[in-house]
Symmetry: C2
């Protein structure tokens, strides 16, 4: 599961961070997590990747694992430091799927 490398310090195994890779990479990551015995998987995304996170959730639950339940969706704001030192806020989403 290569996705988890973004946040090595809080690398909970059942979190899939949605980034710039193709959507199906993340779909596969989620399905793999459940097939490896996880009962819950959390999708996390920020900024423009939020749309992709919803795509992943829809594809996983509609095409691959129709028995999954959506336990919770929450949103938040996170503050990022840009390369030039300025700070900006970015929205984030957390989607909790469970068996």
């Amino acid at each position: 599961m290569a996705e988890n490398t973004q946040n090595p310090d809080k690398a909970s195994e059942n979190i899939v961070y949605i980034g710039k890779k193709p959507t199906m990479n993340y779909v596969l990551a989620v399905v793999t997590q459940f097939n490896n015995g996880m009962n819950e998987v959390i999708l996390k995304a920020r900024g423009n990747a939020i749309s992709k996170a919803v795509d992943v959730k829809e594809i996983v639950t509609n095409k691959f694992m129709p028995d999954l339940k959506l336990k919770n969706i929450s949103t938040s704001s996170e503050e990022l430091t840009n390369e030039d030192g300025t700070r900006s806020k970015v929205s984030a989403i957390q989607i909790l799927l469970c068996k």
Copy 2:
């Protein structure tokens, strides 16, 4: 994907469709709805606009109306007919805010 014209038949007044306009336009639309006496406002978005819908929700609740409550977030898949007649699925989000 044109935005506001999608559902002319169920054009409930308290629905704000998020499209390609600047984020603050939609923030203003939501705040105006509540100031006009609405107790609930629904944000709806499809595809890439989903990220913007979350931005709108975060800006409204963090900056303008901190007393608002998030009542529900749900996602779905909708099928669109493209200009060339093919059909494709697109994810959608509905965010229900209430006073």
